[in-house]
């Protein structure tokens, strides 16, 4: 029977951050994730590394946290962050009093900002509406959520921690008021297993309430659904915020080759079975167009939604989604309900994941009698870039291909360079939209990586394969073949994999009822549903 000291439930940014923090304090831990890393809110969020500007007026405390973490994450994970900077745009429709309030609050909190005239702002971002009043700058940035989560986990695993994907915790074993272990099911094979441990950390985001119930305790979580739209190409090179009281569809974040518009805020019963209506998409686009008019004509690739797990104790549960604090809650169930060895962490933001992890780990360390202080604010998540490998990669690959691979792989780029040197055919770009080579595909599917991909969707999380305009229609097939060739899947399994994958890709596009993506979706369905006689029920 497997044994460890701490079991963490939930492989989002928070769980990953906790695993890393614990590993730095040399506390043995296992992280269990029911699907793959960043399956929850982490993989479905905007990827905005907040500067605090958004909260400056209403919640100075949260703004300060963000500002602080923004700096730290830029320092410890530069490979995950694109320091695009951001603008808070003053639209003529909005309240001018808020503009001044915003500026003063930022000054007060220490968020560096500069006033821009309308012309200056338009010079920087030609896609803004010509009739804006002006804009303020801020140090907003984009953070690659998948890479961030992956880096935390990889670094931790390299230090001896364990991460298990497709392991769903379905029971927490409690004996005489004390945690003894967890029972989990491998969702790919259906096998049950057990890990014995001293402590369990519930970092299950929107599922935290359900997980808490397994320990017989109450963690009230309000699930606040947000929907995001992915646009085919960048319409801005900075994060664009609307300078007004936070509302719907008022942020556009450039993220890799795409940009993401969001979000909405709708209370839902739980984190699963989320749907998006065409009206919701229209609504977001209409609002977004006030901020960036080009959105009206731009191509929407996909919509997705996630839930913000908002901690909602009874006293404030009447408030609407955005009113509940975005701050986080650390619940020590030993002191609240007398369940020894069980801790929950809920709420917060992606931007503050490290801070949340620190808070949990400080508590857990204390309980376990470990005195090592937190060092996640200074230890780099990944060694500095390997310049020599990059230079070699440039000889083997086109520049954008090499550059993207380097961003994703960091020091592991060496492995790919080596593979291509041995087998030049691995230089082939298999995902054209996101510039993923066959070498990288084989790397994430293979055993050389610490956290291998088990499904085609997993490959996407690690490489962005299938995230572009074709939405996996062509590259998904190639990924399936790669998995087959590498004996990760039998021929029949590979087919089943692909079928599932396409289903998931189609679903994300199916709510879009306008523009070229509709044609792209039909094409994909016709190609596989009709021509290849595949997935027949779905092929219209």
């Amino acid at each position: 029977m497997e044994r460890t000291q701490v079991v963490i439930i939930g492989g989002g940014a928070t769980g990953a951050g906790i695993l890393w923090d614990l590993s730095l304090r040399q506390i043995p831990a296992v992280l269990l994730e029911q699907k793959d890393l960043a399956n929850g809110a982490t993989g479905r969020c905007h990827g905005l590394l907040h500067s605090g500007g958004r909260y400056a007026v209403k919640d100075a405390e949260a703004a300060k946290e963000c500002l602080e973490e923004n700096k730290i994450i830029k320092h410890i994970a530069p490979h995950c962050v694109e320091a695009t900077g951001g603008l808070f745009v003053k639209c003529h429709q909005d309240d001018p009093k808020f503009f001044d309030q915003w500026f003063d609050s930022c000054k007060h909190i220490g968020i560096s900002t500069k006033r821009l005239s309308a012309d200056e702002a338009l010079e920087l971002e030609p896609n803004l509406p010509p009739d804006i009043v002006g804009a303020f700058t801020c140090p907003d940035a984009h953070v690659d959520v998948f890479q961030l989560t992956l880096s935390n986990i990889e670094s931790a695993v390299a230090r001896g921690a364990k991460f298990k994907t497709y392991c769903q915790v379905n029971a927490i074993d409690i004996d005489h008021g004390k945690v003894k272990g967890v029972r989990y099911r491998d969702t790919l094979t259906g096998e049950q297993d057990y890990i014995s441990c001293d402590m369990v950390i519930n970092a299950a985001g929107g599922w935290a309430e359900k997980v808490a119930q397994m320990a017989g305790v109450e963690v009230p979580v309000r699930c606040d659904k947000g929907t995001l739209l992915v646009l085919n190409h960048r319409l801005s090179s900075r994060v664009i915020n609307r300078c007004r009281k936070p509302g719907d569809a008022d942020i556009l974040v450039p993220a890799g080759p795409v940009c993401i518009l969001g979000t909405s805020s709708i209370t839902v019963p739980g984190p699963e079975g989320l749907t998006v209506s065409p009206e919701e998409i229209q609504y977001l686009l209409r609002l977004g167009t006030e901020l960036v008019p080009a959105l009206a004509e731009a191509r929407v690739l996909r919509s997705f939604s996630g839930v913000r797990p908002l901690y909602a104790p009874k006293s404030v549960s009447g408030a609407g989604g955005r009113e509940i604090s975005r701050g986080f809650a650390l619940l020590d169930h030993e002191s609240i309900e007398n369940v020894k060895g069980f801790v929950s962490i809920v709420g917060g933001k992606l931007t503050t994941y490290r801070l949340m992890a620190k808070a949990v780990c400080d508590l857990v360390s204390k309980k376990l009698g470990v005195h090592e202080p937190c060092s996640t604010h200074e230890v780099l998540l990944r060694p500095r870039r390997d310049k020599a490998a990059f230079q070699t990669a440039l000889l083997l690959l086109a520049r954008p291909v090499a550059e993207k691979a380097e961003r994703r792989l960091g020091a592991n780029l060496v492995k790919i360079v080596k593979a291509i040197k041995e087998r030049p055919e691995l230089a082939e770009v298999v995902c054209e939209c996101e510039q993923v080579t066959r070498a990288e595909l084989e790397y994430v599917l293979g055993d050389e990586t610490l956290i291998p991909a088990k499904t085609i969707t997993d490959v996407g999380r690690r490489t962005r394969l299938g995230f572009g305009p074709c939405q996996g229609t062509f590259c998904g097939y190639r990924a399936m073949l790669a998995g087959f060739q590498m004996q990760r899947w039998s021929a029949a399994e590979a087919c089943a994999q692909f079928e599932q994958y396409l289903d998931e890709r189609w679903k994300g596009q199916s709510w879009i009822n306008q523009g070229k993506q509709v044609e792209q979706l039909y094409l994909s369905r016709d190609l596989f549903g009709v021509s290849y006689n595949f997935h027949e029920e779905e092929g219209r």
Partner: protein, 430 residues
């Protein structure tokens, strides 16, 4: 610089069908060319992400627009590539060479001050070797002969009172084939027009093709301004060169889009520009096409090659249909792809093999047809065809003019560009 909203959208239209790649002549000819899909919409997303995507390959694009035509989704593929080309960083030698190739007008002017000397020296082997060494211009090719520009608006007295049209000769006709220019004017007169010659220079295509959009911008501005009066007075503009025609119809508007005043003018010029044959077809549809042809005395077997910039104008095959009406003419449309010359492309040393490989299909088709002459309205296509096959290639206007039973001296034209124009037998069946 992302001001072109139309292109913003066109990039998003790509469904990754690869139709463009299958139509690209360079993909056919060069195994490593990444193709229009990649160089266009695919890399454009990355460029807009801010990733360095510069690649030598953009230099290999012929600007033939075949990808644009093949694309079922109206992506402006070649336009995206042309922009990347304009931003491409060149090595110094290439820059020097491309400076000259981008300015045929200037080259033309310099060379025609003393054409004899130029033609003599361009013809000399050592000179061409030197050009190869220092300017990376292939020694395989002969340079077109330069003659004194003396193309003028025809004498008013001799003219009939027809509809006013302005003939835009472009630099090749201006500096290398002024004789052809005079024949075009004659043809226009015979069909009831009152032609005059535009006082303009180069259209700017070569500048664009050599990645020099600044120079192209200057050319466009000058041309637009100089032709506005005529267009405002209701005159149509006529081109006999398909590249100039394409430029007048699309390029000016693209280049000048940031200046609202010039953009409006450019659009007006574009809307009033006609390919010579297009104009004659319109004339035929209006019942005014002159069909008083001399009776045939022999058959003349011709092969027609449609230049890429002709195809991309969307006017059908007017020359093919016009010449089919000439007594004695048997004409076959070769429909065998791009000739590979692409203006100045084929002059560049490193591109020469690609240029010839691209033309391979056309050369084979010509040889298989074995015509008495190839007709094609683009001067550089003519050069390439003669270079690649040894068959004579002439402008279709010549054939048409010769068909009329006029007492105008039968025009002799040789496309042999080795030296001074010489009289030799000329495609005519009259």
């Amino acid at each position: 610089m992302r001001k072109d909203r139309k292109d913003e959208v066109s990039l998003d239209n790509c469904l990754k069908c690869t139709d463009c790649n299958t139509a690209c002549p360079v993909v056919t000819a060069h195994p490593a060319y990444p193709g229009p899909k990649r160089l266009g919409p695919e890399l454009e997303r990355m460029r807009r992400e801010g990733i360095e995507c510069d690649t030598e390959w953009v230099e290999y694009c012929l600007g033939c627009h075949r990808c644009d035509l093949a694309c079922p989704n109206q992506v402006n593929v070649s336009e995206l590539i042309a922009r990347a080309k304009a931003a491409h960083k060149k090595t110094p030698v290439r820059r020097l060479r491309d400076f000259w190739l981008a300015r045929p007008g200037l080259l033309g002017k310099l060379n025609t001050i003393v054409p004899e000397v130029t033609n003599f020296s361009l013809g000399l082997k050592p000179v061409r070797k030197l050009m190869s060494m220092f300017m990376k211009i292939t020694p395989e090719r002969k340079f077109p002969a330069y003659t004194k520009p003396d193309l003028r608006t025809p004498n008013v007295v001799a003219m009939n009172k027809g509809e006013r049209v302005v003939f835009f000769p472009g630099c090749f006709i201006q500096y290398n084939q002024p004789e052809l220019g005079r024949r075009v004017l004659e043809l226009l007169e015979l069909n009831g027009f009152q032609p005059e010659v535009a006082s303009t220079g180069c259209c700017g295509v070569p500048s664009l093709a050599n990645g020099n959009s600044e120079e192209a911008y200057k050319r466009a501005t000058a041309n637009v301004n100089s032709m506005m009066e005529a267009v405002n007075s209701g005159a149509r503009i006529v081109t006999a060169c398909s590249s100039c025609g394409h430029m007048l119809k699309t390029g000016f508007a693209h280049l000048l889009e940031d200046d609202p005043d010039l953009a409006t003018k450019a659009a007006k010029i574009a809307a009033n520009t006609y390919d010579l044959a297009e104009l004659l077809v319109a004339q035929q549809d209006a019942g005014k096409f002159n069909t008083r042809f001399a009776p045939a005395t022999a058959t003349l077997k011709l092969a027609y090659h449609a230049p890429c910039h002709q195809k991309s104008q969307g006017i059908g095959r007017p020359w093919y249909h016009l010449l089919r009406q000439v007594p004695g003419v048997e004409i076959e449309d070769l429909n065998a792809g791009c000739c590979g010359m692409s203006g100045t492309f084929g002059f560049k040393e490193e591109k020469y093999p690609v240029s010839m490989e691209v033309g391979g299909e056309l050369f084979a088709a010509i040889s298989a047809t074995a015509p008495q002459a190839v007709v094609t309205e683009c001067a550089t296509c003519q050069m390439q065809i003669e270079h690649g096959t040894g068959f004579k290639a002439v402008h279709p206007a010549i054939v048409l003019l010769n068909a009329y039973a006029t007492d105008a001296k039968q025009y002799s034209f040789t496309a042999d560009t080795s030296g001074k124009p010489k009289d030799d037998n000329m495609p005519s069946c009259a």
